[in-house]
Structures are given as C-alpha cells and as structure tokens.
Amino acid sequence: MSPAKKAPAPTHAHSPQIGRIARLLRLDPAEVQGLDGVPDEDLRTLHDQISKTLFGDAQHQFARVAGLSRTIPGPLAGLLAEKFLPPVMAARTSEMLDPAKARDLIGRVSVNYLAEIALALDPVRSRPVVQQLPPEPIGRVAKELFGRKEYATMAEFVGTVTVEALVAALNVATPHDLLAVVPLLEWNDNLDAVIADLSHRQVIEIASSLTALELADLAMALDPSRMGPIVAAVPVDTVAEIAAALFERGEYAGMARFVDVVTPEMLHAALGVATEADLLAVVPLLGWSEQIDEVVDTLPDETLDGLFAEIALGANWAAARTALERLSATAQRRLFERFDRLSPGNQETIRAAADAGQLGPAASALMAGTSA
C-alpha cells in the first residue's frame, strides 16, 4: 500500500451560527468569543433574540420602507435602496416586501448588493419572499457568495429556497465549492433531488478535478446513495487512493457504507490497499454479498497470511470471530490451509482461541483439520 498523506477532515474556523451572530453584530467571528460549546439550536435562538433586540424597535420603519416600494416606481426604488439602505436594513425590509415587488426589485439592484442582503437575511423570516423569487438571480447571487466562500450562510438557505433556485445555485458551484458546502448542509428532500440530478458535466468535473483526498472528504460528508453518480465517474486508481486515505484515518464505518454503490473493480482496488489490520476492522462492518465474497476470495495469499498473523497478534477475538464468520467458505478454507505458515507462537495462540470457541464454529471446525 502506498503511504497516503493523512488528510484532515474539512474544518471550519467558526460555527456557521457564530458567524451569523457576528454578522448581525457587525463583528468578525473571532470577536464573538466563548460561544463555541453552545449547541447550534441555542445559537439560533440567541441570534433571533439579538435580531429582535437590534431591529424590533425599528420594525415600523422597515415596514414603512417596504411600503414605500409600492409607492415609487421600481427603477427609482432599486436605485434608492442600493444608494441609501445599508444591506442589513435592506434585509429586514426585504422580509416585509410584497413578493411581487421583491421579484421586480431583485432585477434592479446589483448582484453585489443582493449578496450583502442575502448574508443578512433571516432564512426563516425571509422564506415567503425568497420562495417567490425567480431562480436566475438567485443563481447569480449564489455565484457571488460562492466566490466569497460564504458557504455557511448559503447552507442556511437550503430549506428556504425552491428546488428550482437550489438547482440554479448548485449549478454555479465549482467542485471545490461543493466540497466546502456539502458538509454544512442540512439534508432535505429538495437537496436530495438536486444532488441526485447534478448535471453530467458537474459530476465529471467533481470526479476529475478533486484530488483523491478531497473526494475522500466528500465521500464522508455525503450519503452513499447521493454520492452514487460521482462514484461511478471516479477512476478505479483514484478509488484505491481514496480508500488508502480513509483506511489511514480509520474511517471504517464510513467506508463500509459504500459497499453497495461501488463496482467489483472498485471494491477490489479498495480492499487491495487495506492493511491486514484494516481488513480485520472493516470486514465485520460490511453488508455481505456475493460481490464481496468474490473480491475476498481473490485476496493474495500474502494478505491472508498477514490477516492470520494480525488475528493472532491483535487477540481481538470478538472482531476476529465476526470477520472469520463473514468470510465465504472458500476464503475460510484458504485461510486455514495456510495455518502452518504462521509462526509457532501464533499457531499456538490461534489454536487456543479456536479451542476456547473464541473464533466461532467455522474456525473451530477448520482448526480440527489442521495438524496439531
């Protein structure tokens, strides 16, 4: 196995919720200190309390500004808003706009201004208005926000926008944008539909422009069923690199989820880079199938020797028993036919464990056929 450089899982310097609070207070997230251990749900509540404190008294003024948009012509309203209404206040006003007026105004202000407003919008309060907006300008704003790497804020709006707007937004995402935003997303049916329906162009881009380590990060952030089309586009050699990275991180459970969406060639490539300790850890987690049997049955003899030695040296009999019971009869027989190749000490350990029933009935039966 080629040594893979350990890739850290994607991390974010600040919680998205702390970022929202900071934005509300017009501070840098680093200036909002001491809230790191507070659950997201409570940070949302705190955000709303702060928002009410800041803007509650001015609600009537925002309502008047929103009402003003009905009185003066659209082109002038857009011009005045961008020139005189700071984005945070425009956001509060937007939440009170008549949806038809919002649809008109969104085309009359700059994308930069809209992006600033989007950053200050409340995803819940703005939903009735945002849902009425056409997807095209939302796609343009999304492009601007992706460019600014405002992933956390964008993730907040997954439940706010329509499917069409979500498609427009994710269509302008680069593979690296997706890599950054996906771990932050709260999944819903809309998102499932959009990810499952990513354009062929995007799928190919993701599979070809992300490194193996980045694809490994994406794989751990996505449900395998959602990752399916991307997996299918990944070359087998890259699968081996992804597997090596994930084995090194000990992401056994995360990897095991993918067994149903990879091809036999991919499975072979992935198990081919596993150490004996990796095999012992991951095999008990795999949902078993004939496909896995076929791959395991063709593991090289040296791997089986190493696996047997690992079982003896690790002395984790519960894991060893599960792994051995999961192997096909062919693989079990092949393994125990190589019992004599173990060192005398390891033979003694395995025999004692089998005699004590710690390796399961199949192992005990096969041990009976080995020379004492």
Binding site: V32, G34, G37, V65, L76, L80, L85
Partner: protein, 70 residues
C-alpha cells in the same frame, strides 16, 4: 464594556440556558457587543433616513419623507 451590561437585560428576555451557563465575562462581553450594535444600528438608521430624504429627487422627496418619518 459598560459595567451594568447584562445579557438578559440587553436582550429583553432570558437567553437559552446553555448561554446563561457561560462564564459571566463571556455573557457581559456579548451583552456589551449587542448594546453597541443596537446603538450603531440606531445611528445608521437615522443617518440613512436623512441621506435618503436629502438625496432623492425632489419630485419624490415628499413621499419618501412621509414614508420614513410618518
């Protein structure tokens, strides 16, 4: 930081229990930040209104003024 800064007072309602359980210096700093932001928001709002009224074309100034100031 104002010596009387208190998060619950500034917010007008008790914060979530996990926030109330934070060290007092964290809560007081946050309270001061909220109070400062509120003051700034008032100043900005007043400034925006003044600039908007002064800056809009004369033909619509009356409408804008009435809408913003009541």
């Amino acid at each position: 930081m104002r010596p009387d800064a208190n998060l619950e007072t500034v917010l007008g309602s008790p914060p979530p229990a996990t926030v109330s359980a934070l060290p007092v210096d964290v809560r007081d700093r946050l309270a001061a930040q909220v109070a400062t932001a509120k003051q700034q928001q008032r100043v900005d709002m007043e400034a925006s209104i003044k600039v908007a009224i002064a800056g809009v074309p004369f033909a619509v100034r009356g409408i804008v003024k009435k809408a913003l100031l009541g």
